[in-house]
Symmetry: D2
Subunit: 153 residues, 4 copies
């Protein structure tokens, strides 16, 4: 296993295209209204706007929507570090919902903690954002992913 690379550098155009293409095939992300806002090696950002269609019973963003974008951000963060004939599957994740997701939108950030030959572990963070105000950490999680060789399938 190797430590996660420096996340300041830009991902290659090829990696960004692979991540975006896969994301665009996810019917759920389009249906929720989520979009990718950042792709660097070992880190992916996804933003989801607050609206009726993603709400829970009190009007805040539903924990299920929060988790769905967090899980997706972690999965694509892992994928940025894989060779191009590999795909990624979520093995499991654990997420704490820390505060109600109050704001205009949430931003999920998936970050690779450890990238191994078979398994990758990511940290998941979700912030609620409001224009003109700061951001609040609303969810924090940890995820295990497995690399799948697509050429062998």
């Amino acid at each position: 296993m190797t430590e996660a690379p420096d996340q300041q550098q830009e991902a290659s155009a090829e990696v960004r295209r692979r991540v975006q293409d896969s994301f665009d095939r996810q019917g759920l992300m389009a249906h929720l209204g989520a979009r990718i806002t950042g792709i660097t090696p070992g880190r992916v950002h996804i933003v989801l706007g607050a609206r009726e269609e993603v709400s829970q019973q009190h009007g805040y963003i539903h924990a299920g929507a929060t988790s769905a974008v967090a899980d997706t951000a972690g999965g694509y963060a892992a994928l940025t570090l894989f060779p191009d004939d590999c795909d990624v599957l979520t093995v499991e994740y654990k997420i704490n919902l820390l505060s109600p997701a109050v704001g205009d939108r949430i931003e999920a950030i998936g970050t690779v903690v450890k990238s191994g030959r078979t398994l990758t572990v990511c940290r998941l963070e979700v912030y609620a954002l409001r224009d003109g105000a700061g951001r609040t950490l609303v969810a924090h999680g940890q995820q295990t992913l497995i690399r799948v060789n697509t050429s062998a399938q």
Copy 2:
């Protein structure tokens, strides 16, 4: 803490109404197309049909949708055992995605493992179903919930 009650008995009409009313206020559940199919004391079933809008990149039901209905089933399972001036919030959950969710629909079952004064722990199971075939366990998880007194807010 007390052991979870016998889940064979029917929940009272009052409990079923409270759960269904809360569920109906969740914009996300309607947007995904999920519906409650069973409410007994300490256990709730939710069914979600497979369609483009809840898919991941290979066409199966997205882990995020699977998790969202599992989390919701567990939350309402906890709520069935609360007094009527209480609401429930998910503290955290962990879920393993065991197999691709291949089938016509999935059924999430939330079951109370331990119901305490403040915290409740639930088991989460999700099965993929196909007409004329059996069911396959596609996700298995564990969830912690907290009781919130709504009359005090």
Copy 3:
């Protein structure tokens, strides 16, 4: 992946020997005073007696000791279903501590929920027992394990 087998049948003498031999090489289990009390296909039981050396600050069995025997029970439950040139490593686990472990001893039960080619998922249960009284569920968890081919190392 295949469903876990019927856990009523006895494990073969060969499997029981492999599990017991590996357990006997774990310095920690001897140091804590833990012992295996049951090995069936897909399920292993471990008992740990309450004493000063495994206590937390209030005198109950320490959550760390509870988790250690639960993790070990799950690992060997997975191993019972592997070919004999394979070993098992814990990828991760999540455990809820439900009640103080009050009693003469605890019994941890690891049970395979899903046994795959690479990954296995187990349910972890820990009960506190007291002579002449019943048992209390004190911890409940879920664990992911990976199969390692020892002949290839």
Copy 4:
């Protein structure tokens, strides 16, 4: 809930004494040979030396010992931020074992991510250390704790 405070400042003598006194009453920590090496507000470090008594079947430090010190570090990290009539209990934790714990000793670091009125969430990190070499991240986890008012008991 409030963000965790700056962890650079020293914890007060009163807080350090409370944490150390509680730790000294844990029979398990003494039995394993663990000791506290750092207490700052919202963060606690615990070191455990490698020896036969804490080993698994291949001679590395047992995941159960790794988890026990990680759980304990997180619990005391939470306690550093509580009023002095409060105690802490672990609700649950999840931990990924990333690499074999090869080295002379491990260091577990518990850090408060979010400190709420009832619940606290901590990040758990465990490093393997070897004299003259660097450190390796061997485990990474996330923990939920509950505050208990001891004066009310």
